[in-house]
Amino acid sequence: MTQNANKLYHLDKLENFMSNDQAAVKNMVGLFLQTTPELLASINKGFQEKDAALLTKSAHTLKPTLDIFGIDAMYDPIRKIEKAGKENTMNAETEQLIDQLNQILDKVFADLRAKFDL
């Protein structure tokens, strides 16, 4: 685990949610790695194609996942992205936030894959 990625997320909430059952935690990390890239792709597509509904829905679904995986740096940005979709006010700032989301999540994916050997 790199020092950098360590700050990007923490699994305290997930472990707590899964009552510290490590096998279950690993399962959920597997599901996270399976479902989150799809959601991220939808967010990107929603923004590029100005599909506000798709953007809103995907950001909305991703929101609790980011909370549970302790990706705290994205707490505000994901809400802003969802709001931009909802109010159809997607702009340069939204693009910047989405870029940030892509970068952080890419790092989180890589780190989790390594850590859980997935």
């Binding site: 909430k13 997930l14 707590n16 949610f17 899964m18 009552s19 059952d21 279950a24 399962n27 959920m28 599901l31 996270f32 399976q34 479902t35 989150t36 829905k57 909305h60 679904t61 929101k63 609790p64 996942t65 909370d67 549970i68």
Partner: protein
């Protein structure tokens, strides 16, 4: 208890699996995960104990799913678990009948756990209540309640059966202790209203000033002492039956209010303005002759006709012949069973004594007499010495003995002699008979 079936409707696979894992920690829970609203609705026939519903689903909104659930299965608690942090959404969903609303945050699993615990407790209580209600129904299966083979009581069975099939008002008359409330309960618990409340009101036991608020309720502050809103007996009995005992004791003012409520099928709480619709079946009872009370001007004629409905006149026990023995044996067995005593029998002489008595207190009195006898006896038999009557109507009892005039004469003379300390002269004077007659009877050892 059967497995507690939980439906989770969640399009986010990760979150759904997390909830499934958490809720499956309790082995009593049987958790099913659905990814969209339609899948959940298709499976409702499996009657889940609760549904945890995500608000935003791919095929329809959580609100639509909830409405559909509520339409078909209004009892299933629906808990909304949503990423929506907007208060107005939550309020709208709660108004539509959601059991609770959670935002997907760190506390959601504990909240869900607690709410499930609450729902389970609630469910358990509900199943206990429905079991008890069935028990009561069985208890009041009217042939179990009202015992007897005499023609007069068989006629009553016929009337009760008729009253069970419809909603007609029933007016029960009969002497004290003949079982008026028992008949009212038997009608209620065997009717279509059995699962709704049976509310009994003894009109004579409520002070005049309070009766209106007791019957129709009152609003907070409507009079001194009305510190909270009170729901009246008519509202309590909603969907069920209200039993007004001793209805003849109602004063004129209350009679006209009751008449209005019965005519309009709606009431206003004391101090209130809202009209409240009522759906209750009315059964009234009195030990007075209502028709006579109407003639005397004590009871409103229009109310009388409204209350009369199907009249059931319960016969006094003394007119029920052998039912006295049948009931005596029943009470004896019941008392022994309740008190874990060996079974008792009753001698021929004791039965004779019971048959000769007038029972002014009717079945209630018979029960008390038998219970006392069961306590008094030292062996497993009740004989005539264990049976003692405490009736106040001794003249009636005397006549019940059906003795000859000669025997009655002797009894009366014996009674007077005892009362006046064997003063023959005084007794002769009181009874207006010759003193020699008394001396002769004493000499003949008849007295």
């Amino acid at each position: 208890m059967d497995a507690f079936r939980i439906f989770i409707v969640e399009d986010d696979l990760l979150y759904g699996e997390m909830l499934r894992h958490h809720l499956s920690l309790n082995p009593d829970n049987e958790v099913h995960l659905f990814r969209n609203g339609n899948e959940c609705l298709k499976n409702l026939y499996r009657s889940p104990a609760m549904v945890s519903l995500d608000y935003s689903l791919p095929d329809m909104s959580g609100l639509e799913v909830m409405r559909q659930i509520k339409k078909e299965y209004s009892d299933i608690p629906v808990i909304i678990v949503s990423g929506q942090e907007d208060v107005s959404t939550a309020v709208a969903l709660l108004r539509e009948g959601a059991y609770d609303y959670f935002v997907k945050d760190d506390d959601v699993k504990d909240r869900l756990w607690n709410v499930i615990k609450k729902i389970r407790e609630n469910l358990q209580l509900r199943s206990e209540i429905s079991y008890l209600k069935e028990e009561i129904g069985r208890k009041y299966e009217f042939r179990n309640v009202i015992k007897g083979n005499s023609p007069s009581i068989k006629q009553i069975f016929g009337l009760i059966e008729k009253s069970i099939k419809t909603n007609i008002s029933v007016s029960i008359t009969g002497e004290t202790g003949t079982g008026k409330e028992l008949v009212a309960k038997a009608i209620h618990y065997n009717s279509a209203r059995a699962k709704k409340p049976f509310v009994a009101v003894n009109v004579s036991a409520i002070p005049r000033d309070l009766i209106e608020s007791e019957m129709f309720g009152h609003e907070k502050g409507s009079f001194t002492g009305a510190i909270t809103r009170k729901i009246g007996k008519f509202e309590q009995a909603s969907g069920g039956t209200i039993f007004l005992d001793e209805v003849a004791e109602m004063d004129h003012n209350m009679q006209s209010k009751l008449l209005r409520v019965l005519q309009e099928r709606e009431l206003t709480r004391v101090g209130g303005n809202d009209l409240i619709k009522i759906d209750v079946r009315l059964i009234v009872a009195t030990n007075r002759n209502l028709a006579e009370e109407v003639q005397k001007g004590n009871f409103r004629e229009d109310l009388y006709y409204r209350l009369l409905g199907l009249p059931i006149e319960l016969p006094p026990l003394r007119y029920r012949g052998n039912d006295i023995i049948l009931l005596a044996k029943y009470f004896m067995d019941e008392f022994c069973h309740e008190n874990k005593m060996p079974k008792l029998s009753i001698t021929e002489a004791a039965q004779q004594k019971l048959m000769q008595y007038a029972f002014p207190g009717n079945v209630r009195e018979l029960r008390a007499v038998i219970e006392l006898a069961a306590v008094l006896t030292d062996d497993e038999q009740i004989d005539e010495n264990h049976i003692s009557f405490n009736s106040t109507d001794s003249a009636g009892n005397l006549l019940m003995e059906e003795s000859t005039l000669q025997e009655y004469t002797l009894k009366i003379i014996r009674y007077y002699l005892q009362k006046y300390n064997n003063n023959v002269l005084l007794v002769a004077k009181k009874l207006d008979i010759g003193k020699s007659t008394i001396y002769r009877l004493i000499k003949e050892k008849q007295i």
